[in-house]
């Protein structure tokens, strides 16, 4: 099934018939098959799929870190071939540069692009403020909690002013309390900055709380099973998760997801 929003002028990221095949000793494994997705500017999209269905592969293809086997990925009218700062990626694993302080990590992208010092300092202090990390600016990553490290990782990516923010289960390795804190943090951030976000997760509640549109993925090979528009108004607060509407929609999607998890051998 193909879902797209062709005809809308402000679509920013388009995946056309994207597929990924791995070859192992003359044996072909189809990980992603004929995937079509469109993301509009300022949209917050969540992809929900069973673990191991190829979500990370998809994000890495959009980031340009691994090539597609078929189809094409278009960002702002241009085909994606290599990694670039127009697509920021936040990983599930902690990926701060351990030898750089929080401040230096946030300015890494600005540093490699030789942004002038005054502007760099402005941007970095803006994001230190936004992420509530001002007091930790000179800390090394090893002295930060997991939740703080992910906040720095988000700030580091946003400081680069990407057209789209790709997030690969960024809160997946955090404890549940920190995770819901960061979900609220990301909602506030999005409500303030309206960065286009493509967020991948296996947590239905997380997807519903954050996104405008939720795509349910099926596994092996990965494809889109269904799309849900999330009706909850913004600003969203944590209490939303305890309402009946939220609960009902979460259940509906979860059932959809169960049906899509591939047979385990």
């Amino acid at each position: 099934m193909a879902f797209s929003f062709l005809g809308l002028k402000n679509r920013m990221l388009e995946l056309h018939h994207v597929s990924k095949t791995y070859t192992h000793k003359h044996h072909h494994v189809e990980a992603i098959k004929n995937l079509n997705v469109s993301v509009r500017e300022h949209e917050f999209i969540a992809l929900v799929g069973p673990s191991g269905c190829g979500k990370t592969t998809l994000l890495k293809m959009i980031a340009g870190l691994i090539p597609v086997s078929g189809g094409e990925i278009i960002l702002d009218g241009r085909k994606i071939m290599t990694p670039g700062r127009d697509r920021g990626l936040v990983f599930q694993q902690f990926t701060l540069f351990p030898w750089l302080s929080v401040r230096e990590n946030i300015s890494f992208g600005l540093e490699v692009h030789k942004v002038d010092k005054k502007k760099k300092n402005e941007i970095v202090s803006h994001y230190l403020g936004v992420t509530g990390l001002k007091d930790f600016a000179e800390f090394y990553p090893k002295n930060l909690s997991g939740g703080m490290q992910q906040r720095v990782a988000i700030a580091r990516t946003l400081a680069n002013n990407p057209k789209i923010l790709l997030m690969d289960e960024p809160f997946g390795s955090l404890d549940s309390q920190t995770r819901s804190h960061l979900q609220e943090f990301l909602t506030r951030l999005w409500e303030a900055e309206h960065t286009t976000i493509l967020f991948v997760t296996h947590d239905v509640g997380e997807a519903l709380f954050l996104a405008d549109t939720v795509y349910v993925l099926s596994g092996q090979p990965m494809g889109i099973k269904s799309v849900f528009n999330v009706p909850f108004p913004r600003p969203r607060v944590h209490a939303l998760k305890h309402t009946k509407d939220f609960f009902d929609l979460e259940n509906t999607i979860a059932r959809e997801l169960e049906g899509s998890s591939f047979a385990v051998d």
Binding site: K60, A63, G64, L65, P83, G84, R85, R87, G88, L89, F91, Q93, T95, F97, P98, W99, L100, F108, G109, E111, V112, H113, Y140, P141, K142, A153, R156, T157, N160
Partner: protein, 260 residues
Amino acid sequence: MKSERKVSRAHYVVLAVFGLLIFLSGWSLLTYTGFVRPFFLPTPTKVLSSITLLLTEGSLLADIFASVYRILLGVLLSLVVSVPLGIALGVSRKFEAVTEPLIAFVRYIPPSAFIPLAIIWFGIGEMEKVSILFLGVAPYLALLIADIVINTRRELVEAALTLGASGKQLIVNVVFPNALPGIWDSFRIMIGAAWTFVIIAEIVGASSGLGHLMIESQRFLRTDNIFAAIVVIGFLGLATDYFFRITYGIFFPWTEKSHA
């Protein structure tokens, strides 16, 4: 295993002193009782007085200086060559294909095997010692550094790429700083190995250095002076290790290993 390795700092020092005391009492027991003749194994006090005598009236200070100077020169030269070589090896598969077999070939030849050739080429001066050290240290160091570079966490490289780093920036801003603590550690290990090479080179042909002191002492049957040189080398090794441990914490406060 983990809990087994948990020992407080003070406790550690006590245990270390205890280990040293066992060794010293064993040595004392063998020598002061006359169980072993002083010609074969002098007493601790005799070795201590030999060190003092060699320091004040002999050439010990000059010999220490000569050996340390050779080691520093040889290892620093190796470092200058091996750091770029190791990084290139770790980064580029093509470069690895061209150079790795040659480096591995040289690495398997014991550096002592080059001594006769080095003496013919350079005589028995500094050049000979430094070239032996270089041949012994540089290939190992290059391969150690290549290994460190290859083990750069993939996610860090990917993060840098998505932040817009170019290939060159990836090496300068990610691979190199990430490898530095490992390089510093390898440097420490290679200084240990360098002692082996410099002593051999000095025993075979030299007019100064701790190896020269030992072979001279052997000619004059001065076992006590041989032991004096051995003890001095041991202490220099300890001091080197201490130096590297302290500097590691100062240079790399960001590593998990450092307690800054």
